[in-house]
Amino acid sequence: MSEALRTVSFKIYRFNPEVDLKPFMKEYQLSIPKDKDMMLLEAIMRIKALDDTLAFRRSCREGVCGSDGMNINGRNGLACITLLSALKEPIEIRPLPGLPVIRDLIVDMSAFYAQYEKVKPYLINKDPVPAKERLQSPADRKKLDGLYECILCACCSTSCPSFWWNPEKFIGPAGLLQAYRFIVDSRDTAKSERLEALSDPFSVFRCRGVMNCVDVCPKGLNPTRAIGQIRSELLAEGG
């Protein structure tokens, strides 16, 4: 018995610097069973089965690893948790904006990671190491909610105009969310040094409150709020 099929049309950004002089959009038609929905990543993997020159990153396929961040119909998101049925056709897929393209949908994330590294995303504690562990009250632990969940998919930072214009100076929403995650952690003793390192006119203050980061975050996090809280901490410390 043959299944009833429907066709979904795609336009996918293609660029292989070894062969292509410049990027182009390639059209694909994919037949999928009628009355069946799937995640965009599944559809892209089926397209790759038809055209194995298409390159993209993916790993966990359930919105946890952050590998398959891409620009879907003009909006950054994770292909693995975006339903095909929610997208207008032809579905236009491009690499994350603002970062150099290595090939097709794969971008060079070095600038993004360099900013993440700047905020020292690990606990710093000068107190003697306790016998068992550093305890934290439930109230203090609660302050990390909405911050620790970030998976570094870069959807936010690559949708931020300030990050596009100054990727080497502005930390960007992802890095700043993590910066605040350690500033507010009761077990961290380097709060002042962390704030001092962020007090220049670029690192935090290049945020103009556009809020694209909040709009696109696949985990529903709010970097703009974290940036506001860093400002408040800076104000409390040096105001």
């Binding site: 105009p161 300030s162 214009w165 100054n166 100076k169 001092e196 390192a197 962020l198 007090s199 220049d200 006119p201 670029f202 690192s203 935090v204 203050f205 290049r206 103009r208 400002r231 800076l234 104000l235 040096g238 105001g239």
Partner: protein, 114 residues
């Protein structure tokens, strides 16, 4: 820490605070002038009378200073966003600073000549 020689204060928090405080001064000054224009009969005598008050003169100079500070923080941000060629950016920054200082001094001269 990113160093920046040309920002107003070289410190992000200070620049940000100055911009917000100057915005407040400008907002109050605008409301004050608008209020005067809308509630009084506007003629030369009323206008000169208003600026005869020392308080109004000081407020006007404060508003001009706020404009200088506010505009510099804003324009500096725009220039460092969009002009990537350092020599061109620095030239434009100098032109803007000189223009703003010129207008500020001119505003003082005008207000104190009344």
């Amino acid at each position: 820490m990113v160093s920046s020689a040309t920002s107003l204060t070289g410190n992000g928090l200070r620049d940000w605070l100055y911009q917000r405080v100057s915005a407040l001064v400008l907002a109050v000054y605008t409301l004050f002038i608008m209020g005067f224009i809308m509630t009084r009969s506007m003629d030369y005598a009323a206008w000169v009378g208003l600026f005869h008050h020392t308080g109004v003169k000081i407020f006007s100079v404060l508003a001009a200073l706020s404009l200088l500070v506010h505009a510099w923080v804003g324009v500096w941000t725009i220039l460092t966003d969009y002009i990537k060629m350092a020599s061109l950016r620095l030239s434009l920054e100098i032109v803007v600073i000189l223009a703003l200082l010129f207008y500020f001094i001119w505003a003082i001269i005008i207000v104190w000549s009344v």
